[in-house]
């Protein structure tokens, strides 16, 4: 009996071994064409801390993907690694932003581009990707023209002869915007004031809003977007002050004095993290404009928190990614921050780095879905991306780019945080006090008026 059992087991093992050997012999060998996938990172690495953050995030993503076995390309019958090609745009000025991308596309022959920092630089260098039909997942540049400047985006409303308009709809179909646009986050700001703050401070009148913005494409874009939404949605908001200033100045008292004469209920400050804190401090402390100040998401930066200090108590920040909350509002963000800290100790990750990190996984998924590195197939695969949201929350909970003949954008979910000064630790913390989606579980606390707040008129 035992001998029979032993014999049966041996036969089974032999059969399984023969079947396995046959299977292996039938598996195709990796293609001779198989090679590393070249992905170009477009970022102002040598001229901007944000560019350096994008590079760190990119290298972390590449390392993770490669360590996990790389990208499976079914047409090559194998997994391959990513090779990162750096296209350093220095300070991202249009004069510096094009040549690195040209080199990446024409000399390094990248399969795909990821990055893009400022709108002006990206509008300049994406022309290279458009002309060469290279998929470009743009993780910065809040100007929606980066994907809407072609026929399918109605030239961004500027007509076929607009200064930035592009007639090549096929080339434009290779552009993908994985970032909030000026219109996305401006809507969040005005909707917050209209729906959350107005009932508290101006229940019987229009909400008085002042905008103070840097006089460049970025500042002007936000100002135009705010005006658009107030009008388009017929919001009960009156723009009582609309002032801009030279981006190089650090002296805002006079502009803030002028804003103070209009008695606003809140002030939207449009500048970068090295300037916004100064504006708020000069406004609150020097001019005595004790109001609610809100800054937009590019200020989600350690420099902002360090510079604003205790004056930031009660003030607001529109955001979509916060690495500073502990515990975090998102398990994905918490995990990202921990991994980032292991790889880059004592360095906080930034928002554009987070976009960039996600973009590498979008690219991986698209190439694996396409089964090839053929650019047309990869473009089509990115277009039909349907991944779960990652570091950047989206309105549907999925990463999806609009499809068909439309421009390719995601619909991110942005939120409003309120800052709180912790006397014990002498640090600012923040909590999410409002989201546009009332069903969202991101909200952590109710919005309260800052201590010493003086409502407008």
């Amino acid at each position: 009996m035992q001998k029979k059992l032993l014999a049966v087991i041996v036969v089974i093992i032999i059969v399984v071994a023969i079947v396995a050997a046959i299977q292996l012999s039938m598996s195709p060998a990796p293609s001779a064409d198989a090679r590393d996938i070249m992905i170009g990172l477009v970022a102002p690495i040598s001229g901007s801390p944000v560019g350096q953050d994008m590079e760190r995030a990119a290298r972390m993503a590449v390392q993770e993907i490669n360590d996990a076995g790389g990208i499976h390309v079914s047409s090559w019958n194998t997994n391959v690694n990513i090779t990162l090609v750096i296209a350093d745009t220095i300070n991202d000025a249009p004069t510096n932003a094009v040549a690195p991308v040209t080199r990446a596309v024409e000399t390094d022959k990248v399969d795909l581009l990821i990055g893009g920092y400022g709108s002006a630089g990206t509008l300049a260098n994406e022309i290279v990707a458009i002309e060469n039909k290279v998929p470009f997942i743009i993780t910065g540049a809040s100007n929606e023209l980066v994907t809407r400047r072609g026929p399918q985006g109605n030239y961004g409303g500027f007509g076929a002869n607009g200064a930035n308009s592009v007639s090549d709809s096929d080339g434009m179909s290779y552009m993908f915007h994985y970032c909030t646009t000026t219109y996305h986050y401006s809507k969040t700001v005005v909707d917050f004031f209209a729906n959350e703050m107005k009932p508290m401070v101006a229940p019987d009148r229009n909400f008085s809003l002042a905008i103070l913005y840097r006089n460049d494409a970025f500042g002007q874009g936000v100002e135009q977007a705010v005006k658009f939404w107030i009008q388009d949605e017929n919001l009960p908001i009156t723009l009582v002050a609309d002032r801009n200033y030279d981006p190089t100045t650090t002296n805002y008292q006079t502009d803030l004095t002028a804003v103070a004469t209009t008695n606003p209920d809140a002030v939207l400050v449009v500048d970068n993290p090295d300037k916004s804190p100064l504006i708020i401090k000069q406004g609150w402390n020097d001019v005595g404009l004790k109001t609610v100040y809100i800054v937009i998401e590019n200020n989600q930066d350690q420099a902002f928190y360090d510079l604003i200090g205790s004056t930031g108590d009660g003030q607001l920040l529109e955001s979509r990614f916060n690495p500073f909350m502990d515990p975090s509002y998102s398990t994905a963000v918490q995990a990202y921050v921990e991994k980032f800290d292991q790889l880059y100790p004592h360095t906080m990750p930034g928002m554009m780095g987070a976009d960039t990190y996600d973009a590498f996984f979008i690219a991986k998924a698209a190439i694996e879905s396409a089964g090839t590195i053929d650019k047309v197939a990869v473009r089509d695969a990115i277009e039909t991306t349907n991944m779960d949201q990652s570091l950047i929350p989206t309105q549907s909970g999925k990463i999806e780019f609009s499809t068909g003949v439309n421009y390719h954008e995601i619909l991110p979910l942005t939120f409003v945080e309120q800052l709180k000064w912790d006397e014990a630790t002498s640090h600012l913390t923040s909590q999410i006090v409002w989201t546009p989606n009332s069903n969202s579980d991101l909200k952590q606390a109710d919005f309260t008026l800052p201590t010493g707040y003086e409502p407008g008129q």
Partner: protein, 292 residues
């Protein structure tokens, strides 16, 4: 926008406060030009270094920011001596283009060194008076701005006494009038040049410390103030300290009033338009001498 008397007064206060910083920078530039006949486009970078040193001393030694300015002033004066001896001394008296290119080179060296040492992020010096204001009827003025004006007044008085009441000052004035004659009279002109550059650098450092307390700064902060300082010394008259003071105040006030009435982007434009008008009327500046 409802412009009231308190609004105008506050705007004048802002103009005087920023004007005081410009005065210090312009005065330093003026004495360097007046004594050495040297055009130093890197003067604003000395302001930048002064701001960074004040910040570093304040945070690492825990010193009062205003005390840190004094230490920063001494260090930047030494840097000024080194710059004068190693670079400008070797080309002084030669082609003016050489001076321009040397100073342009120094701009890049200083800015890149600052970025490497302190990083690209902006900083601000927190003084013990941060957030405190003097409440007056209808307006309140921060103590930091009041102290800034006071520091500038004291510095200029000390500087004025040095120039008018000391042998060094006499030697500097003699050298500025005619350096060859000064040499014949036994004045060590090279030593005077070194001292002049040191004093000019020290004044820039004080301006930097005050600037860093009132505003934020980064490694590129020196560029715009340098242009404004040049505009002020031309407005006031090359070589005239009185002109630098009046020019600085005038520039600051006009800039802020233009900002109030026309918007921030017009501040510098209107101030420079005033410069052009003054130069058309008085080509040598308000207090300039003919032949400068």
């Amino acid at each position: 926008m409802d412009i009231t008397a308190p609004t105008i007064i506050l705007t004048l206060v802002w103009g005087v406060a920023i004007g005081c910083v410009y005065i210090l920078l312009a005065t330093g530039l003026n004495i360097i030009f007046g004594v050495m006949k040297l055009v130093n486009f890197a003067h604003g970078q000395l302001l930048m270094i002064g701001a960074y040193l004040t910040w570093t001393i304040t945070y690492s030694a825990g010193l009062n920011a205003y005390a840190a300015i004094i230490l920063s002033m001494l260090v930047v004066a030494c840097i000024g001596v080194a710059v004068e001896r190693l670079t400008f001394r070797r080309i002084l008296g030669g082609d003016k283009l050489n001076e321009i290119f040397v100073s342009l080179g120094l701009i890049y060296i200083f800015e890149n060194a600052a970025m490497l040492i302190w990083g690209a992020n902006s900083k601000q010096i927190v003084s013990p008076l941060a957030g405190l204001s003097l409440a007056l009827p209808s307006i309140s003025i921060t103590y930091d701005r009041i102290v800034a004006v006071f520091v500038v007044i004291v510095t200029l008085i000390a500087f004025g006494l040095l120039i008018q009441k000391t042998k060094i000052g006499l030697a500097m004035r003699a050298t500025s009038q005619r350096n060859s004659t000064a040499m014949l009279m036994g004045i060590n002109v090279e030593t005077i040049y070194m001292l002049t550059f040191a004093i000019g650098s020290a004044l820039a450092a004080v301006a930097g410390g005050l600037y860093g307390i009132i505003f934020s700064f980064d490694y590129q902060v020196g560029a715009i103030p340098t242009i404004i300082a040049f505009a002020i010394i031309i407005l006031g008259g090359l070589g005239s300290i009185k002109g630098a003071i009046i020019g600085g105040l005038l520039y600051g006030i006009v800039e802020q009033l233009a900002t109030l009435f026309f918007g921030g982007v017009w501040g510098s434009a209107v101030a420079f338009a005033m410069l052009i008008v003054v130069l058309i009327i008085r080509p040598n500046g308000i207090f300039g001498e003919k032949g400068e």
